[in-house]
Amino acid sequence: MKRLWILPVFFLALLVPVAVLAGSAVGFEGVVRSVESRYHVHATHIPFLGLASFIAGRATHGGVANLHIAEFENFSEAVDGEELNHMVQEKLGSGWERIIRETSRQGGEQTLIYMHPEGNRMGLFVVSLDGHELNVIEVSVDPDHLNESVGHYRHHHDNDDESD
């Protein structure tokens, strides 16, 4: 009986690292967890996203990689643009630079786009709130390979136009 005190201690011992890890997560996970925690929402699971990321990478010959998407539907909490901006910036860290910010005072529309040079690649991080839907997206892009892929499709598109 006396040893029952050990149960809550065990519980706490397990809980504390989980809470610390949740709070200290950075990057994409950090932003998603912060949004979930601050606005009391849960990201919708997107099936086969890993496969989609793999296919996107293959299709663009490595032009697009590391695709992460978190989708929050039925987003009803009021959003303070400044607060969201600070939250995202804090979780992303200093390596990421915000290049575009669009914010409405009513809070219904918020867009934050960050860039992060990764050698020859470029990390792109987007947070977009439109009404009741918030999306958090991270993707790594290789400009050279993406240019080739885009050029390939553009070439086909131009040929199609000419044949019409």
Binding site: I46, V64, E97, R98, I99, E102, T103, M115, I137, N147
Partner: protein
């Protein structure tokens, strides 16, 4: 839904390609920005520093004539900054605030290129150019409408004839006209 997200990602990547930034805050008095942003119903900020612009240039296809022009232009730039404030009603910013913004660039380095005042519509446009050894090394554009205020600051060597190429970047649509205007002005100047 998934297609929409993917389209959004790729669309954003394409849009953001020419718009990349590094540590280069807009060289304006911070209180002005904050005060305007606090009163605006919508604020759009584009902050593009030298390093990010250089990196973005890689996205431009050197074989495409148009893109090669933009690439050449942005590779040499030190920064592009855009601030667009939209207000719910008129009178949300004062003439004094606009004058303070203008005064910030009224130094010996900056020369006025365009000064337009429309009393009827309460609209004004100012274009100032930073001249270093007779060459333009910066451009400041201030457009004030009753419910909208747009500030564009471009730093670095600028070729006026290429400036219009930047009009595709969000908030820089007016540059298409500026480039053409500058051309006309130069021609007139030459004739005089």
């Amino acid at each position: 839904m998934k297609y929409r997200i993917l389209a959004f990602v790729l669309g954003t990547a394409a849009l953001a390609a020419p718009a990349l930034a590094q540590n280069s805050p807009l060289p304006l008095p911070p209180p002005v920005e904050k005060e305007l942003a606090a009163r605006a119903s919508n604020v759009t900020e584009v902050t593009l520093g030298k390093n990010m612009l250089a990196f973005a240039a890689k996205f431009m296809n050197g074989k495409d004539k148009d893109e090669a022009g933009v690439r050449q232009l942005i590779e040499g730039l030190e920064g592009i900054y855009v601030r667009e404030y939209t207000f719910d009603k008129e009178g949300q910013y004062s003439i004094e605030e606009i004058d303070n913004l203008r005064k910030y660039f009224e130094t010996s380095e900056w020369s006025p290129l365009v000064r337009e005042r429309e009393k009827k519509n309460s609209e004004s446009t100012d274009v100032m150019v930073k001249l270093v050894n007779g060459e333009s090394h910066g451009m400041f554009i201030l457009t004030a409408e009753p419910k909208e205020l747009t500030i564009v600051l471009i730093l670095g060597p600028i070729r006026m004839d290429q400036l219009g190429e930047l009009k595709g970047i969000g908030g820089l649509g007016a540059l298409g006209g500026v480039g053409k205007g500058a051309k006309i002005k130069t021609k007139k100047g030459g004739a005089e």
